[in-house]
């Protein structure tokens, strides 16, 4: 009890302003490619369930984060691309950004903080943007990661929820969270709960009836690390980091991992398979793996949506044992259907 009070004291120092309405949505490369159901669910929850105004702009592009963190584009290029997004937002009449990717969120913040310290950089970028696109922009009033918005409305979501993060017997599910390095490690004050004890996902777990689990490597990198994955020679290092986290959380027997960042969700999920193939090491009950959910999927589940509509069939780790444990009534046969279309069923060679 005392311990939790201690964490609350830390969280109290890291309260963050999150806009209540009128969001300009920034897509995530990885989320839209690998977790499209999550993206769709976020827009649905904010727009339809919570009834907020959110604009998904077709003119929006990548933030260049992957290339930037792989040392392929210079900061000025990135800043100009981001400035264009600000311009798009300004043109669309919005002031609040909802960013769907941790790395984008980190980069937007980084660029804004750079401009704060070095206004001449902002001037330069305004100039570049004008020359390239004849666009101008206003600095957003509020920048939030999409998980911040879900966190912001976690209690409203809990009120509308039809399910809770509990098993069939009503015992809370043990949930470990993974925040993602670029969320708050760059600027601790920009993350809910700060960098060391972030509360953004833990707050959702608390609000929706689960039990958040702390473990020694909670803050460690998922292993993506851009260059570490993208350069083949470094890939062993990438998988080693996921391995380290999985080993560290293993004794706590978590029911699921919830991830903040689309990249992290993907790597914690996919690398479990790789580790099993490489070393025969498995995690989770009966060696079935620990399901890795995005917070949108977690929110979708408690709001009562069909797991297959959330895109959970695209996971490497099968989520069905978790669904059974939670007592969710789902259609196993629907796993490979998307509307009327039959999805290709993967086979093992």
């Amino acid at each position: 009890m005392e311990q939790e009070l201690g964490k609350n004291a830390v969280w109290a120092n890291y309260q963050k302003d999150i806009a209540d309405d009128h969001y300009y949505y920034c897509r995530s490369c990885i989320r839209q490619a690998f977790l499209p159901g999550s993206e769709r669910m976020f827009l649905h929850i904010v727009g339809n369930v919570l009834g907020k105004d959110i604009y998904d702009d077709p003119k929006h592009t990548t933030c260049t984060g992957i290339a930037y963190h792989s040392d392929l584009v210079p900061q000025e290029t990135t800043a100009t691309v981001i400035a264009r997004h600000f311009a798009l937002m300004t043109e669309a009449g919005y002031e609040n950004m909802a960013i769907s990717c941790i790395t984008s969120f980190g980069l937007y913040t980084e660029i804004l903080e750079t401009w704060k310290e070095h206004p001449e950089e902002e001037e330069k970028v305004r100039d570049y943007l004008w020359k390239a696109t004849r666009r101008e922009f206003k600095i957003p009033k509020n920048i939030a990661h999409t998980s911040d918005i879900i966190f912001h409305f976690r209690h409203q979501i809990a009120e509308k929820a039809t399910r809770r993060l509990v098993d069939v017997n009503g015992n809370p599910l043990k949930v470990v969270d993974h925040i993602g390095c670029h969320y708050a490690k760059l600027f601790p004050s920009k993350g809910v709960g700060g960098a060391e004890f972030p509360y953004v996902l833990a707050g959702m777990v608390d609000a929706w009836g689960g039990q958040q689990v702390d473990y020694p490597e909670r803050r460690h990198c998922c292993g993506f690390g851009f260059r570490n994955y993208l350069v083949m020679a470094n890939r062993g290092y990438s998988v080693a980091n996921s391995h380290k986290k999985l080993e560290s959380m293993k004794p706590y027997q978590p029911d699921l991992i919830v991830a903040n960042c689309p990249g992290c969700a993907m790597f914690l999920d996919r690398w479990q398979y790789t580790i099993e193939q490489m070393e025969g090491k498995t995690y989770g009950a009966n060696g079935q793996g620990i399901p890795v959910l995005t917070y949108e999927e977690m929110a979708g589940l408690v709001l009562g949506y069909n797991p297959w509509d959330l895109g959970m069939q695209l996971h490497q780790i099968d989520v069905e044992p978790l669904l059974l444990k939670m007592g969710i009534d789902y259609n196993p046969a629907g796993k490979h259907e998307l509307g009327a279309r039959q999805l290709t069923i993967p086979t093992l060679k």
Partner: protein
């Protein structure tokens, strides 16, 4: 008879009061808590020779038991004004006192270890600060939060000192030798407990401190690892997992321990309202600054306002007492002009 108001009843305040009274001054010793002694009253033994802190304090207090000293306990200084005749000091008990000179001896504030979030102070029960360890030693109870005896205690030097990220660029001087002393005291009480010190530099500035360091290594088998701990986390057994770089090897090091003692640094108390009203100058380190570091250490920029002890810079008890006497003499010189 000139009247001097001393703010703060720690070792510096007590000893300067005693010295001033001996020099023929009337003294008001204003202490906000219910007892004299300041941080010294919370200490177990003093380095380098293991002298009992309570004994030293009681001798200091006995020395200050003089007829010209008026001790005002439970009294806080709300504000102070300088006027033609000297100082008018507003106290928390609605009273005011006037004085011909003011001696600030407000000591230091212990760095709040919770500000270094990565160590989980206030979150993990067995992460404690150095003063809490001092209390454990004083009460002879080394047990952890669960009542069990720790198997391994790790001391982390320089918490809140030499750290730009918390705004303290200075060295708090006494933490290194305090860690060494505490590690030895633990070993004396229970030789089974493994003790480690994680340090950036070992700064043994005082006489016999280096000898104590060596004794810790040689006789008490305290292990020293050069490298600052980057984070602590609790594992499933409730033990703490710490990470550091062993900089002498150039490799990260991971270790489990049962108790992590953060050697909290000293922070300035010079942000008091009365000091701001009087415009007493502060240095870059936020402690009170002197008009001359060599010749007039105890004099501030405000005429008639003097300082003594750790409100001017981190100091050990020996230096604090000497500095308190120096402050008394500085005041005497001021009035003898």
């Amino acid at each position: 008879m000139k009247h001097i108001a001393i703010i703060g009843g720690g070792p510096a305040g007590i000893e300067s009061a005693a010295s001033l009274a001996q020099l023929g001054y009337r003294v008001s010793l204003i202490e906000k808590s219910a007892e004299l002694g300041g941080h010294l009253s919370q200490m177990f033994t003093l380095f380098p020779d293991g002298r009992n802190a309570a004994e030293v304090l009681s001798e200091l207090i006995a020395h200050a038991r003089q007829k010209n000293i008026n001790v005002m306990l439970n009294t806080e200084v709300i504000d102070a004004q300088r006027n033609l005749s000297g100082f008018t000091i507003t106290l928390s008990n609605q009273k005011t006192v006037t004085a011909d000179a003011l001696l600030i001896a407000t000591g230091f504030r212990l760095f709040n270890v919770a500000r270094k979030e990565e160590y989980g102070y206030g979150i993990y029960k067995n992460v404690i600060n150095s003063l809490q360890m001092e209390k454990k030693l004083r009460t002879g109870d080394l047990t952890m939060a669960n009542g069990q005896m720790p198997k391994r205690v790790v001391f982390l030097h320089c918490v809140g000192s030499r750290d730009e990220k918390v705004g303290n660029n200075y060295c708090s001087k006494v933490c290194c030798v305090t860690a060494v002393k505490q590690a030895i005291e633990i070993k004396k009480m229970n030789p089974e407990i493994e003790t480690f010190c994680f340090y950036m530099d070992i700064r043994m500035f005082g006489p016999y401190y280096e000898e104590l360091y060596r004794e810790a290594q040689e006789k008490w088998k305290v292990v020293f690892v050069r490298g600052k701990i980057s984070e602590a986390a609790e594992n499933i057994d409730g033990r703490l997992q710490i990470k550091a770089e062993d900089t002498l090897i150039g490799k990260p090091l991971r270790m489990q321990c049962d108790m992590l003692v953060a050697m909290a640094g000293m922070e300035s108390t010079a942000d008091a309202k009365f000091a701001q009203t009087l415009n007493v100058a502060r240095g870059l380190n936020r402690f009170y600054s002197s008009t001359d570091n060599y010749l007039r250490y105890n004099n501030t920029n405000v005429e008639g306002v003097f300082t003594a002890g750790t409100c001017t810079a981190p100091m050990n008890i020996i230096d604090t007492i000497a500095n308190a006497r120096a402050a008394a003499l500085s005041i005497h010189q001021y009035f003898s002009k």
